[in-house]
Symmetry: C2
Subunit: 310 residues, 2 copies
C-alpha cells in the first residue's frame, strides 16, 4: 500500500447503478485520511475496499446534494461505535450548516465522537497540519459548492554527496542550516551548493461545477486531480444547465494547469460505457488519465525524478 | 412475481458485512409497497433486487437506530426525483419525530414528495386500506421501538357450485347478500349454505426487542413473520442485555403463535455462518424456516387450501 493514494469508494452521480455506488473518496496521505463527499453506502464501500473508517481524520464535503453527503451519518455513527481515539475535522460550505447538523444527528447513537466542525466561509487556507495546507475555493454549481486542494510545502534537503565534496561535516551542517552558509576547506559554502528543494506534492478535488476560476486555482500544478466529468462534450449544453463539467472540459483544465494524473468520476448513469469519456480526455490531455471505477486505488504519482536545486 | 411477497434488501444488524447490507424489507402486497426499516444503502439494494422505489406506498420504521432508518433520506430523495404520483405514508415511533425530520430533510433536494407523517403514539390500528388494517405494538428494546402487522379482513365469497345447487341465480344472489337469506326452490337458503369465509392473510414484522407481549400479539397467526434473530441461544445473556432475540426465542414465538413461514434476519456479524441459527429455529418450530439473505424474495405462503365455511 502506498503512503499516499486515493481509494475510490463510489463514482456515480445522482443515481447509483449496479456497478457504481454514490460518491466517496478516501485520500490516504501519510497519517491523514481525508474522506471526500461520502454518499450513501460509503461505510460499506470502505469495508469492500478494505480500508478502515478509523483512518479518517477529516471529512470534506463539497456541497449538500445527497450523492455527496448522505453517507455522513453512517460514517459518524460507525466512528463513534469504534470509539475513535482522535478528533475528526469536518469541512463543508457554511451555508449548509443546518444540513450538516441533520446528518450529524440523523438518528439515535452513543455519541462519543470528537467531531470538530469547521465550516468553510471563504476561499483560502482552511487547515494546516503536517501535510501542509488544506485550501478551499468556491465553485459554480446549482447550489453553494466548494472544492479542495492539499498543498505540501516545498522542503529543502541536503545532498550527502555534495556535502562531502564541499567538506561540510558534523556540526558544520547545523551551522549551514542556521546561517545559510558555512566556511569549509577555505571557501564559503552556501545552502544552494549542497542541497535541493523538493517541490511539495499537490492533490485537488473538484466536484459539481461549471468551469470557473476556482476550478483552475484548485487544479494548478496538481499531481493528482480528481474531477467530475458527469457529461460528454456532446451534452455540454446539459452540463452547463445542471452546473457540471464534460470529460473534455475536465481534461483541458488538467492540461492547462500542468496536472500529472487526472481522475475522472461522478458519471451520469446515461452513459453505459465510459470509453468516450476516456477518449475525450486523452485527446485533450497528455498526462495519465484514470476513468474511476468503484474500489479502485490510485497512487499519488511518485515525485518527479529530477530535483530542482534552488 | 407473486402479488404478495417480501423482498429482502438487507439482513445485517449494527455493522454491514461484505454479503449483508444494513436492514431493508419491501413487502409487496397487491397494490401496496411497504418499506420496513430502510438502512443505509437501501436505495441501491432496491436497484440490485430489481424492484422500483416507485412501488413504495408506506415507510414503516420500528425505531431510530441507524441500521433501521439511515436509508430514509436516499429513498425520500429518490422518490422526489422520480416525481412519485401517489402519497407515501410514514409510520415511526412518535418519540423519534425529531430524527425523522432530520432524515426527511437531510440535504438539499427538490422536494415534491407528498410524504404524510403518521407517528405511532399508541398500540393498535394505525392505518386502514384495501389491504385491511396496519397495526403497531410497542416492543422492548434499548430505545423506544414498535413492531407492525398487516391484517387482511376475512372475506365471504360465494361458491358457484353451491349457488347453482340451491337454485340461487341472477338477482337472488344480491338479495341473499343483502338480507342474509333468500327463498329459492321452495326453501330458505342462508349465506352459510352457499358461501365460505376465507381467513385474511397476516404479515408481521418484529425487529429489535426482548421477548414481550407485543412480540406475541404481532406474531399471532401470521402467515409470514419477519423477526430479528440477532443472536444464538448460547449468547442469550448478551441478547437480553442489548434488547435482542435469539434464533431459538424467535422460533418459539413462531411455534406458539401458529406462524406459517418464519423469516429470521438482522444477524450479528459475530456469526460468520448461520447454520446454527437455522438449526435452532428448526428445532423449535415445525413450519417453514427462512434464514434471510440479501436480495432474496420470500412469497407470502399461499392461502390454506381448505376454506372454512362459517
Amino acid at each position: 500500500m502506498s503512503d499516499r493514494e486515493l481509494v475510490v469508494l463510489g463514482t456515480a452521480s445522482q443515481a447509483p447503478t449496479r456497478h457504481r455506488n454514490h460518491n466517496g473518496y478516501l485520500l490516504r496521505w501519510d497519517g491523514e485520511g481525508l474522506l471526500f463527499d461520502p454518499g450513501e453506502g460509503t461505510q460499506r464501500q470502505m469495508l469492500l475496499a478494505g480500508v478502515s473508517p478509523t483512518q479518517i481524520t477529516r471529512l470534506c464535503l463539497t456541497h449538500f446534494h445527497g450523492d455527496h453527503c448522505l453517507g455522513v451519518p453512517g460514517i459518524v455513527q460507525r466512528l463513534a461505535l469504534d470509539r475513535l481515539a482522535h478528533p475528526v475535522f469536518a469541512h463543508f460550505p457554511a451555508s449548509g450548516g443546518e444540513y450538516f447538523e441533520h446528518l450529524r444527528h440523523a438518528s439515535y447513537f452513543y455519541d462519543v465522537l470528537d467531531l470538530r466542525e469547521e465550516p468553510v466561509t471563504a476561499d483560502g487556507v482552511i487547515a494546516r497540519g503536517e501535510f501542509g495546507t488544506l485550501e478551499a475555493r468556491r465553485l459554480d454549481h446549482s447550489i453553494d459548492a466548494v472544492g479542495y486542494r492539499l498543498i505540501e510545502p516545498a522542503a529543502r534537503h541536503f545532498l550527502p554527496d555534495r556535502l562531502a565534496q564541499a567538506g561540510v561535516t558534523g556540526p558544520m551542517v547545523g551551522r549551514l542550516q542556521a546561517d545559510g552558509q558555512v566556511w569549509a576547506d577555505g571557501r564559503w559554502v552556501g545552502l544552494a551548493d549542497v542541497s535541493a528543494v523538493r517541490r511539495g506534492q499537490r492533490f485537488a478535488f473538484v466536484m459539481d461545477t461549471r468551469l470557473c476560476d476556482g476550478v483552475y486555482e484548485l487544479a494548478d500544478g496538481a499531481d493528482l486531480l480528481v474531477i467530475e466529468a458527469t457529461f460528454l462534450d456532446r451534452d455540454r449544453a446539459l452540463a452547463a444547465d445542471y452546473g457540471h463539467l464534460t470529460a473534455r472540459q475536465a481534461a483541458r483544465v488538467a492540461a492547462e494547469c500542468g496536472v500529472r494524473r487526472l481522475v475522472l468520476t461522478h458519471f451520469s448513469q446515461r452513459y453505459p460505457d465510459l470509453a468516450e469519456h476516456r477518449a475525450e480526455a486523452q485527446a485533450a490531455f497528455d498526462g495519465d488519465v484514470v476513468v474511476a471505477e468503484d474500489l479502485m486505488r490510485v497512487p499519488v504519482p511518485p515525485r518527479s525524478v529530477g530535483v530542482r536545486t534552488a
